[in-house]
């Protein structure tokens, strides 16, 4: 059974939802505390949403220096899979595991509602179950979700097909450049996005369209090609 570490920082608040979604998808979910330096041989590491360290200084800036992040850096450098959701995405950008940064929403308000997104890349460890171009409504909940990067970086991301999720149907909720909701590293092994699929991963929450991200992870073959239904 694929082992998935869900990292908890002080201020993480989507840790249980993420754990639940991972376990429901049939993977072996484990919590890892931010002071731990051992990822318990997990094949996939998830940095869940929340407000690590109160978003002091900048969202994700302090969490980046947690002891566990050294292990996450080494895991990623060895080709291990890492997914950052919302605050986790902010942490991955601050840690330079993903390019760009997430700044204050363009309309300055905290946005908490389901928005339409399109799956643009399906050969990653967490999107394999979806067909390319799949559109779905997934909740976002963030104040600092405006993705920014310099022009050359955005051009590179587009050219290399590294935009994993994109806001669609005119629903860009935060002013992100090119409607980018999530990106990945060149190998597709490190992925970050702002929407919260773990909140729509169980019918009890009103929708389970996001469960595919976690089923993709559970079905992923480390070291091999990701399974794709596309």
């Amino acid at each position: 059974m694929l082992r998935v570490a869900v990292v908890r920082f002080p201020g993480s608040n989507c840790d249980w939802d993420t754990y639940h979604a991972v376990a429901n998808a049939g993977a072996d979910a484990r919590f890892v505390w931010h002071r731990d330096t051992d990822l318990q041989q997990a094949e996939v590491v998830i940095l869940p949403g929340g407000f690590s360290y109160g978003d002091y200084l900048r969202s994700g800036a302090i969490a980046r220096f947690s002891p566990v992040m050294q292990a996450v850096q080494e895991h990623a450098a060895a080709g291990g899979a890492v997914l950052g959701i919302c605050n986790g995405f902010q942490i991955l950008c601050e840690a330079h595991l993903l390019p760009g940064a997430l700044v204050r929403n363009d309309r300055l308000t905290f946005v908490s509602r389901p928005v339409w997104v399109r799956v643009e890349r399906t050969d990653t460890f967490c999107t394999g179950e979806y067909a390319r171009g799949t559109e779905m409504r997934i909740p976002v909940a963030h104040g600092d979700g405006c993705y920014v990067a310099d022009e050359d970086t955005v051009r590179l991301l587009e050219a290399e097909g590294r935009v994993v999720l994109r806001y669609t149907r005119g629903e860009n909720p935060n002013g992100s450049v090119a409607d980018i909701a999530g990106v990945c590293n060149p190998a597709g092994t490190v992925v970050g996005f702002m929407p919260h699929p773990e909140r729509y991963a169980d019918p009890v929450t009103g929708s389970d369209v996001g469960a595919g991200f976690f089923r993709s992870i559970a079905a992923w073959l480390p070291g091999g090609a990701a399974r794709s239904s596309a």
Binding site: F65, C93, P99, V103, R107, L108, V148
Partner: protein
């Protein structure tokens, strides 16, 4: 010797600064027509034990590069006070 360091971090020029824009509109609403190009950042003050002002500045610059400013979105400037 202890040096006092004053650090200013502001959004990079050209980057959208929605807080600055909101404040600019508020200033205009108050009748300050001449005010424009408002940028909102943060000020950080700290004390550094170092052998010289240059060493204190070098240390503070490293702090800015690694943590206090995000090189993707922010510029910083600093002043070392003896």
């Amino acid at each position: 010797m202890t040096y006092r360091v004053h650090i200013r971090v502001v959004p990079r020029a050209g980057l959208l600064d929605p807080q600055g824009q909101a404040v600019e509109h508020a200033l205009a609403a108050l009748g300050f027509d001449g005010a424009g190009d408002v940028r909102i950042g943060r000020a950080i003050e700290l004390a550094i034990d170092a052998k010289s002002p240059d060493a204190a500045e070098a240390s503070a610059r490293q702090m800015c590069e690694k943590l206090l400013a995000n090189p993707v979105t922010e510029d910083y400037s600093l002043v070392v006070e003896a």
